[in-house]
Subunit: 650 residues, 2 copies
């Protein structure tokens, strides 16, 4: 067999072949239009070898992995204050101590994750750490918790961003679900362009937000030091006091504030996305993120309580917005900060768009998810994971009709489950390896595990009836699903893989060739021609609904094809075309056990795809039935309208 | 090749084979459960030869083909009165003259159709008559009008029947669409059991209605003759006078009343469904139907106006119901008649269930509709047409939310278009043949054509803005669709059919066999084994995303399969698996023009259908792309988990 090499298929050094990028482009006119559209939207394909060049610098890495965490500074203070305010304005004095406690826990978590990065430089999310040290189910529990949280992050932060927009333009309020899905669509396209380009696209807004908030915080701190703090702008509606200041209220406020810790996991999960040295760069980004979020959060809490702000019952004006109004009034700066906040809230979703597909790809590599999730698209992005995340979070958003209040309580439980499992796993890790100084490392992670576990109990306890129970209920189902997929792949693997090392004898067996013919037209002759070339024993078979039809067909066959090729005619009084053919194949099989049966089906390829409904329905039904039959293979012979004459018809 | 004959495949006299009914039954456990369910619902298969036994007697034929027409007696009087009442109670005096005019037109139509049946004993609906005598587009116009009307008949009469039920049980009013779809489902199952069984199932209610109405009409006539007529029961709400009694009002009332002529066409369309002598039996049934409907309609109009009944504005009590109450009060007989009316209204839809599939099968035989419509199911019913009618009428019912008022104005225009075309066609028919006495026949049909055309103008004119315009707008689209399908089939036919009469030489060409292999597992070895048996030149091809992978695979190939089978390795830096394989096939094709290429694809058959999502996605995508490629056929080699070892692996 001669294989023509050309500019479409060339030989590479090392004896392999290669199809250059040019030749991969679409060959038809329509295909080229779609291809051009694709390229405009997603960019040109990127070669696997270029993976290094697609890695993230520290600056873009921070924008990609930290936008979720940093964006929480826009609402973490408010969430805590809102919870406290239910116990009276006096309880707001606890805002600052609670903020300090949360930042302390953040410090513990960051330190612990620094150790994770050091120990797992190939990318160590909670799933990897937990499954390696605590067993597969701990790993899957961490994975399920994180997958849920990534989805929720997208829905919640897009809903939050849309809320900021609809507050400014109330006319859009009926379109909020579509607006949200539109933003998810933009994030999807951005991320399908590849992780690096998404970083470049979305870095601007992240840094713009950081600079804006640092500015207002600096003004606040300066005026606080100079004793020049303004009177607070009152909220449109104060929250009424409805309960006493019990320890439960304090813990609930703490849970609400600790929403700011979500997203910390993303960096450790994505170490391999960084430029070399990966672990070092990831560590720097992790610390930068912690410091940025921590100081913004503390500063906002400090200034808000010093001024004496109160949160707004109706949720139309945020605490950060009241703080800005108090300090600089409603001017250009105020609007800039509002815009930056709306944008960062939507961009928080972007962290999930790098975290979810990355975790899914690790799970797929370990065979816990369908293998499509492990394949990189032509831009090196994990396309299937990106699309799955976009789909699920859009459905969730639509289900909750774009409401933030409905989604928020489901949040944060998952994060702390993952934190706890990962820290506990790290303790086991150090105890097993016992490297130099392992006691200190184990101690650090041990403290992390205990602290995050306590926070988990607090969050689950105070938010259980508000919606956290749904997450806790669905988690085991996801774990079972992942495990079920794994068991399926494993059992198949055992059955399919061939472990021999020495040559095996692949014997050739002449097949029995069966050609069902409904009438003698060009497709049928084409099928016969191919069937004759297959070197097996050949028989054609025709099903009629009555004796006359069978007789007529037999005569025509003898006239046109002759006696060279055997023809069997079946009369089916019950018009049971497909069952009759199946029983016939059974009879052929019984007659010659062991030899494979090739059923040759003539199919007509219509000019337009929509014409397909008018043809080949029977062939399709027959094919489906034969597919599950043992020892039988189906050879599809398509006939195109402008194929050359299959036989000499002159 | 030896083909084992057994109780599953036996030889018939005449040398043909046959699969007995026993062997056609499902072979798997699940299949048997489904099969038993099918048999219970639809009955055992009926052999084609038994078609004669499935024919209709005159008694069942009347029930099948006349239920639509006869059921109109329940509301035709009322429709006319309701239209007249808008011009004041005095205008109701015109009810009786209008009824007589409508019955006169019915007489003309019945006489004309008797001639159609005589001239077209093989079944002569308006489509056949018009297309044969006036050309294909007149025929298609008649067909489109009738198809629309059949669908509307189902939607309207089911909606009417459901209205009768919800009037009695107002609690069900929210479920009216589901109730309606439920009734359509019952009619569908009944008709899939075959035309004869549907007749037997539905004959009872039809005759029950006729007997009940004849009873009340007899009482009324008797009391009228004996001068003992009661005072009218007043309607819950009288219709207010809003216009003067203009000729337009009279014509509109005439249009409304002539709804009673719909369904007359069905008998002529279904002549072949009758026992021998078909034409005679059909004629008797047609006359019986005309006499039954005509006398019931006239009698109801007569008694209603003699008593002095007025229609009810709110549509909660029908005129027939008021008439019964006036004559016999609200007693058992009243309820029996109400029940009979509700049932006959729903059964009116049944006429469409025999008319629509029959017309569709004639159109499909003439290649104006997809050929599935011409195939009889295993109970000899035209299953595709029945299912299509059920689906479309359910959608229409759901679209109009089950409202009769919304659907009624669309009705009757179609019927009169079909009438006019068919009568005009008959005039041409007689003029062409000039048999003995043709002048009389042509005269009868000529009068029919003129009368029905005038009625058509009246109906279209008075109902145009109420909704008839929609039917007139959609008709040309349906004509174009039917014609487009025809042109497609015709052009394909020309290209596909082989007209030679003498033997042709079907030469065998050795194919080039290409086996894409992604890894060396059992399915791949199975595919290789089959491919080796095909006697063509064989090459295996593997696509890697990098040099190392290609190298590794090549080594493994040499270890296991050896050098006997050629392997080409393609490195695709852009992870473009399918385009690379397609370019490779191009190169094979260029190297050896003319020889067909067989691409052998290993496919894994999972144990459960839902596992399929985890496998074979790539093979499926490749298959679709290769299907449209010239000179290429695809051989699917399924691997089942418990297939024997494809090669000796010890």
């Amino acid at each position: 067999m001669r294989i023509v090499r050309s500019d479409k298929l060339r030989r590479r050094p090392g004896g392999h072949l290669e199809v250059p990028e040019r030749a991969l482009r679409p060959q038809t006119a329509l295909g080229r239009v779609i291809g051009r559209f694709r390229t405009t939207l997603f960019g040109r394909p990127i070669a696997t070898e270029a993976e290094q060049e697609q890695r993230l610098s520290k600056v873009t890495g921070l924008a990609i992995f930290a936008s979720d965490n940093i964006s929480s500074s826009a609402y973490a203070t408010e969430e805590a204050m809102r919870s406290l305010a239910l116990a009276g304005a006096g309880a707001l004095a606890l805002t600052m101590p609670l903020s300090i406690a949360i930042v302390a826990i953040l410090a513990v978590v960051v330190t612990s994750y620094l150790q994770v990065i050091r120990a797992y430089p190939q990318g160590g999310g909670s799933y990897v750490v937990a499954s390696e040290n605590l067993g597969v189910f701990a790993g899957l529990a961490a994975a399920a918790a994180l997958l849920i949280d990534y989805v929720l992050t997208v829905s919640v932060s897009v809903a939050g961003g849309v809320l900021a927009i609809t507050s400014a333009f109330p006319a859009l309020v009926d379109e909020k679900v579509w607006l949200g899905i539109g933003f998810i669509g933009l994030l999807t396209v951005g991320n399908l362009r590849g992780v690096r380009e998404a970083g470049l696209l979305f870095a601007g807004p992240t840094y713009f937000y950081v600079v804006s908030v640092v500015g207002i915080v600096a003004i606040g701190l300066f005026r606080s030091i100079s004793g020049d703090l303004p009177a607070p702008v009152p909220p449109p509606e104060t929250i009424p006091t409805i309960e006493a200041l019990t320890p439960f209220v304090v813990l609930r406020a703490f849970s609400s504030g600790s929403v700011g810790l979500s997203g910390t996991e993303a960096v450790a999960n994505g170490v391999t996305a960084f430029k070399r040295p990966e672990a070092r760069n990831a560590g720097v980004v992790l610390v930068a993120m912690g410091v940025l979020f921590g100081s913004l959060f503390l500063a906002i809490s400090f200034i808000a309580t010093r001024i004496g702000l109160e949160p707004d019952q109706s949720e139309t004006v945020s605490v950060l917005s009241l703080l800005t109004r108090s300090l600089v009034g409603v001017g250009p700066y105020y609007y800039v900060l509002q815009a930056a906040t709306a944008v960062i809230l939507i961009l928080a979703a972007n962290t999930s768009f790098s975290g979810f597909p990355r975790l899914a790809s690790i799970l797929a590599t370990d065979r816990f998810m369908p293998r499509q999730f492990a394949q990189r698209g032509d831009r090196l992005a994990f396309s299937t994971g990106i699309l799955a995340l976009a789909l699920i979070s859009s459905l969730l958003l639509a289900h909750y009709e774009g409401s933030v209040t409905g989604l928020i309580p489901l949040y944060t439980v998952g994060v702390f489950i993952a934190f706890t499992l990962s820290q506990a796993g790290m303790v086991r890790h150090w105890m097993r390896l016992r490297e130099r100084g392992w006691q200190i490392s184990a101690g650090v992670n041990g403290i992390g595990a205990v602290v995050t576990f306590v926070v988990l109990l607090v969050v689950a306890g105070t938010k259980f009836t508000l919606g956290a129970w749904q997450v806790l209920a669905i988690m085991p189902l996801i774990v079972l699903l992942l495990y079920g997929i794994h068991r399926h792949y494993r059992s198949i693997e055992d059955d399919l893989l061939v472990s021999v090392k020495r040559p095996v004898r692949v014997t050739a067996t002449r097949p029995l060739v069966v050609v069902p013919v409904s009438r003698l037209d060009r497709p049928a002759l084409q099928a016969l021609r191919i069937a004759r070339g297959l070197s097996g024993d050949l028989v054609a078979v025709h099903v009629s609904y009555g004796n006359e039809g069978a007789e007529r067909f037999k005569q025509r066959w003898l006239d046109v094809v002759g006696r060279d090729t055997r023809l069997d005619t079946i009369v089916s009084p019950y018009r049971a075309l497909i069952p009759s053919l199946l029983r016939y194949v059974d009879a052929v099989d019984q007659g010659d056990r062991g030899r494979p049966i090739v059923v040759v089906l003539a199919e007509f390829v219509p000019r337009h795809w929509w014409e397909a409904i008018l043809h080949n329905q029977t062939a399709l039904a027959l094919k489906l039935r034969l597919f599950v039959r043992r020892n039988t293979v189906v050879l599809d012979v398509p006939y195109h309208l402008d194929d050359p004459e299959p036989v000499d018809l002159q």
